[in-house]
């Protein structure tokens, strides 16, 4: 059973378009994290969402945590080739870091010039 379902799995769009990717679950989370991974590199943390209904913005990226804290979305406005990468959502079973992170399978995003 995959605890975190990410969709779409693959997305290829033109530069300048908007897009939304999703991270869904039937479980309730205390927080969710979003990472971006570029080829040949490790994942880099983008944001952590904690409060149900929370919206966080990082330049052209907007992250939302669902009211029930079961899902999250990432919206990119006016996508640029530099946004290309693997977007991963993740949670941890218990606070304190002892369990590490459980990741979704990711969304592979390609922004074509």
């Amino acid at each position: 059973t995959q605890l975190l379902e990410q969709s779409p799995q693959f997305l290829s769009i033109q530069e300048g378009e908007n897009l939304t990717v999703y991270c869904n679950s039937s479980s309730v989370f205390s927080s969710l994290q979003w990472y971006r991974q570029e080829p040949g590199e490790g994942p880099v943390l983008l944001v952590t969402v904690v409060t149900g209904g929370e919206v966080k913005k990082l330049k052209r990226l907007t992250f939302q945590f669902g009211d029930a804290r079961k899902d999250s979305s990432l919206h990119i406005t006016a996508a640029q080739p530099g946004d290309t990468g693997l977007y991963l959502c993740a949670f941890e079973y218990s606070g304190g870091g002892a369990d590490g992170l459980t990741f979704g399978k990711g969304t592979h995003l390609i922004i074509q010039p």
Binding site: S30, Q37, V44, G95, G96, G97, F103
Partner: protein, 113 residues
């Protein structure tokens, strides 16, 4: 300075060999991790370790063993390598509180032939 560094970046070895991957973090974090990313880019926790406790994912074969000479280092030793061990291995660290927001190394691509 690189926050989390691991070596080597690439490792090609024959089946049955024993190999180690080294990891160092200069962030002063208390908790370190090893993750495995398979060919489909699915990232999965293998171990988490702080100065008090080693937590092992139950699916990890006992041929894999983490070794921590000190708080800043967590090396991964693998015995009797198998073809299925081919993957990218990531070291990461976090403060562990309030959540396991992780800083990742660049990864070690292990190829077993």
């Amino acid at each position: 300075d690189t926050a989390v560094s691991q070596t080597p970046k690439y490792l090609v070895t024959q089946m049955g060999n024993d190999k180690s991957i080294k990891c160092e973090q200069n962030l002063g974090h208390d908790t370190m991790y090893w993750y495995k990313q398979d060919s489909k880019k699915f990232l999965k926790i293998m171990f988490s370790y702080n100065n008090k406790e080693l937590i092992i994912n139950e699916t990890v074969p006992n041929r894999f063993s983490p070794k921590s000479p000190d708080k800043a280092h967590l090396n991964l030793h693998i015995n009797s390598l198998e073809l299925g061990d081919s993957a990218v291995y990531f070291c990461a660290s976090s403060t562990g509180w309030p959540s396991a927001e992780a800083f990742f190394g660049q990864g070690t691509r292990l190829t077993v032939v």
